[in-house]
Amino acid sequence: MSNIKVIACSGIGKAMGLMAREAALQVTGKISPDTTETVCLAYVVSGDEEGAKKVEGCTCITIDGCPAMCAAKSVEHAGGIVKAKYRVIDEMRNHKGVDAGTGTALTEDGWKIVDELAGKISEKAAELTKEGQSNG
């Protein structure tokens, strides 16, 4: 079974875009490097056949910063099978009053939220990997 694709929006304008990006890097680079990988969202939808192949028919997890849901929409449009959609804004709603930082740099609190989210996503990825293995 191929790796689970974890794709973030990486929106440049908001802290939540940076948090989505960092959560994806945390999952694919540190927590679950053997079973997950990330891909460039923009390349996937660029129109290049090679780009689309990276997600087409693959099990994907998307991480969006805000309710615009750019990663989820674009990955689905490119033919990815999005099994879980995460939004950083939903994590932020569990941390009322916290200053997470800016689109350039996160605060310590921002990083904590990233780590929490990355933990949840990794668990989900493990669940999906197991499902994939038992389905052959």
Partner: protein, 286 residues
């Protein structure tokens, strides 16, 4: 979602009416979103109940003419939305309260009648279709950088300097915030609504909205009573970002003094200039 009451019962222990008052408070807390304020604790230390008293409409239940619960509410400067007097209700429903302190069949019947009346009032407030709002609006836009600020041109819109609008139909109004607010805040994550039943003066707080950047107090453009809130915002406050004039409306009110209130409000022409000035000064940048 029914927001329920903040219930302040008299809890009088020397009369049956006091016991019925407590019974109704328990029924409300168990069968609706209501929360009980313990009058004894509230009298000595009110910190614990301040939040409930602010967020929910206050229901005071007095057992008798001594009106201890009403007096306590007045002492704590609370706005009373609804008042019940058990002795008076018993008379009105031709129910004789027992001389003892046990809550018997007749007392429970009275409690049920009052409970039904109270929960029926809340349902009416929630579901009544109060405002005939247009299916779509016509907007003027002001652009700054890549950001577009819309303002509805319809005649019935009025605006205060605090960037809150009211759409007025007869003696009712729907209120919400303008594009300037939702763009300045960016992604709105929390919505604290005004309590249904709350009576407010023009320019009083009507709840707030919060993003990662700031908390915005919604300053009511009109005086009146809150009839309904946009309950979709409780789960999806981002609707305000999507369109603060249509799906992102905040609350509906019954107006009490619009003829005077409107003297201090802008129509489209006046507020559009205010909006442009604020946008130019603020220069929204992520």
């Amino acid at each position: 979602m029914n927001k329920g009451y903040a219930v302040l019962p008299c809890n009088g222990l020397d009369k049956c009416a006091g016991c019925v008052s407590k019974e109704i408070a328990i029924m409300l807390s168990e069968n609706s979103e209501s929360e009980i304020i313990c009058p004894v604790l509230f009298h000595t230390s009110d910190a614990r109940y301040n939040k409930i008293a602010q967020e929910k409409p206050l229901l005071v239940i007095d057992g008798c003419a001594t009106r201890c619960a009403s007096k306590l509410a007045a002492e704590k400067n609370l706005k009373i939305t609804e008042k019940i007097n058990i002795t008076e209700e018993a008379k009105a429903n031709q129910i004789t309260l027992g001389k003892g302190l046990q809550v018997g069949e007749e007392e429970m019947r009275l409690a049920k009648i009052i409970f039904d009346k109270l929960t029926h009032v809340q349902e009416d407030a929630k579901t009544e279709d109060t405002i005939a709002f247009p299916a779509s609006l016509t907007y003027e836009v002001y652009k700054k950088d890549k950001f577009v600020f819309r303002l509805p041109k319809e005649e019935r819109f009025y605006f205060n300097e605090n960037d809150v609008w009211a759409y007025v139909v007869g003696n009712k109004a729907r209120i919400g915030v303008t594009d300037f607010v939702q763009k300045s805040l960016s992604d709105i994550m929390f919505f604290t609504p005004p309590a249904i039943g709350n009576q407010m003066e023009q320019f009083e707080d009507a709840g707030n909205i919060e993003s990662a950047k700031a908390v915005f107090e919604i300053i009511s453009p009109v005086s009146g009573t809150i009839l309904a809130i946009n309950e979709k915002l409780m789960e999806a406050p981002e609707l305000i970002n999507q369109n603060p004039y249509e799906q992102g409306w905040i609350a509906e009110m019954e107006l009490s003094d619009f003829e005077n209130d409107k003297e201090l409000l802008h129509t489209f022409d006046g507020y559009f200039e205010v909006l442009k000035r604020k946008v130019d000064e603020f220069h929204v940048k992520h």
